[in-house]
């Protein structure tokens, strides 16, 4: 008979006690930082890929299509293992630890972040493209008629408008990203879930520990939902009539916003 160990559960849930564990403390920091960095790089890759897909130059379009096809069509877990172990074995990149001041960025964290970013870029490419395509083609024509080049028109006219279309799905992607960082556990990158599995290996309380871990993710995604709502509300107030987006509770609880 297995008794739920409330004491262990509270110890590893309540931040004051849980964060005394250096593994969990650094795991939480790594999860947050990796999410932000991987998402930011993913957005940049997505933007570049979306523009590549719209290029007049056919080989650029092919590269963009192949990239999206591969990274959306294969499992992230496989991509991550492939990158970390594959590149190492081939001696293309050995993922050495990088020391910055007091921080050490392990090879596993680098590989995990890289895999998450590249995978995210493929998804962001479609989101960015949809955002650009949502803008009335008359905007590009007006910009061109005023003497702007394609690049100028994109930067100054199209993308500022497309951003408002892109931000709601981007927020959802970031929500996913924070949860998906947990698969870095398989390459022993020291993120939050890895920390809990390490503790579990020592004291074997999987039920208590993994519920506590899951609640930390829930906390992160809930905080993010609040931030996302603020951002979207401030966008909605200004300038552009935007599409109605689901509110925080609808988003959290998955209700349809009709």
């Amino acid at each position: 008979m297995y008794f739920f160990d409330w004491n262990t559960f509270w110890n590893y849930l309540w931040p004051v006690t849980a964060l005394q564990n250096p593994l969990i403390r650094s795991g939480l920091i790594v999860t947050i930082l990796v999410s932000i960095i991987a998402q930011a790089v993913g957005v940049i890759l997505g933007l570049v890929t979306a523009l590549g897909k719209m290029s007049k130059f056919a080989p650029l379009r092919w590269i963009a299509d192949a990239y999206i096809w591969y990274f959306r069509g294969t499992p992230l877990l496989v991509q991550m293992m492939l990158l970390y172990f594959g590149l190492g074995v081939m001696h293309i990149y050995d993922f050495p630890d990088i020391h910055i001041g007091l921080m050490t960025i392990t090879g596993a964290i680098q590989a995990g972040t890289f895999a998450l970013a590249v995978n995210e870029g493929a998804y962001m490419a479609e989101i960015v493209r949809a955002g650009i395509e949502a803008i009335d083609p008359g905007q590009m024509e007006a910009a061109k008629s005023l003497g702007m080049t394609f690049g100028q028109a994109m930067r100054r006219i199209i993308l500022p408008q497309a951003t408002k279309v892109i931000i709601p799905p981007l927020g959802n992607e970031f929500n996913n990203m924070m949860k998906t960082t947990s698969i870095m556990q398989v390459i022993s990158a020291g993120e939050l879930f890895f920390a809990y599995t390490q503790v579990n290996a020592r004291i074997f309380k999987p039920f208590e520990l993994f519920i506590a871990a899951s609640l930390y993710y829930l906390l992160l995604t809930t905080i993010w939902s609040i931030i996302q709502n603020r951002i979207e509300a401030s966008l909605g107030e200004r300038k552009i009539p935007t599409v109605r987006t689901p509110g925080m509770f609808q988003r959290l609880l998955g209700a349809k916003g009709h």
């Binding site: 009335d136 008359g138 905007q139 024509e141 007006a142 910009a143 061109k144 008629s145 005023l146 003497g147 702007m148 080049t149 394609f150 100028q152 100054r156 006219i157 500022p160 408008q161 408002k164 300038k239 552009i240 009539p241």
Partner: protein, 266 residues
């Protein structure tokens, strides 16, 4: 009333601003511009009328290369726009070259196409600052004059969605004028407007017609009568009839022109 063309000071050396030579364009099987030859002189106001699908908008948009053509040549200020000729074939220019040429041609669209994320003033100064590289203060001073000219000096800080259609179109005209173009193209500028707002836009255009080379695609026969130096009637991608407003509207020679005018002139 505007004086007719031959009384203008440019009388002897009539400077040609736009020239079409044997221009053809196809959309798939449709021959939407069929062998157009046309000259527009400096300070001339040319009005193009015709049924929808007659190719008049396509013709206008091909002048600043928003539409590609299949053969022939279009020159603006004596230079081909969008293409150069190589071994008798049209080759598309680099986009920087096209952009530079487009900067000299103002265009006003049916759906205004103001930039919704920018205020009226920002819409107007955007290209002078970022294309012409004019100092911001100078661009703002110029924009304020233009806003006054179109009667909207109090709307500088308004966003397009806060303006009526007529006001948006007047801002769009000011935005085009801010680049100090030598030629203005109007693509059905009043077709998307409520009837009570058409007048305010046409008034601005009439005033502009005193000093500008303008090509206007429109259904406003009254405007054409009062303002045009020359009217062209197009159908099936061809110029069917051409003449002064008086000739075209009062004594059209072609049956197709008569049939069209009987529908639009009530």
């Amino acid at each position: 009333m505007k004086t007719s063309l031959h009384l203008k000071p440019t009388k002897n050396k009539r400077e040609i601003i736009v020239k079409f030579e044997n221009v053809h364009k196809y959309f798939g099987d449709i021959h939407c511009i069929n062998n157009i030859n046309l000259e527009v002189a400096k300070n001339e106001v040319l009005v193009i009328i015709g049924p929808s699908g007659s190719g008049k908008s396509t013709l206008l948009r091909s002048i600043n290369h928003l539409e590609k053509i299949n053969s022939g040549s279009i020159t603006v200020y004596g230079r081909m726009l969008g293409y150069y000729e190589k071994d008798g074939k049209l080759v598309e220019e680099k986009e920087q070259v096209i952009a530079r040429q487009r900067a000299e041609i103002g265009m006003v669209f049916q759906r205004f196409n103001l930039f919704p994320h920018l205020t009226s003033l920002e819409n107007i100064i955007e290209s002078p600052i970022h294309v012409r590289k004019i100092a911001r203060e100078e661009a703002i001073a110029e924009a304020k004059k233009l806003l006054k000219r179109v009667g909207l000096e109090d709307k500088a800080e308004s966003y397009p969605r806060q303006l009526s259609g007529g006001q948006q179109q007047r801002i769009a005209i000011a935005r085009a004028l801010a680049m100090k173009p030598g030629l203005m193209l109007f693509d059905e500028p009043t077709s998307a407007l409520d009837p009570e707002m058409i007048g305010e836009v046409l008034d601005v255009m009439k005033e502009l017609a005193q000093e500008m080379t303008m090509i206007v695609v429109t259904h406003e026969i009254g405007f054409a009568r009062a303002t045009a130096d020359r009217v062209i009637f197009m159908d099936d991608g061809q110029i069917i009839e051409e003449g002064t407003p008086k000739q075209v509207f009062e004594s059209p020679r072609q049956e197709r022109t008569k049939a069209f005018l009987s529908k639009v002139l009530i």
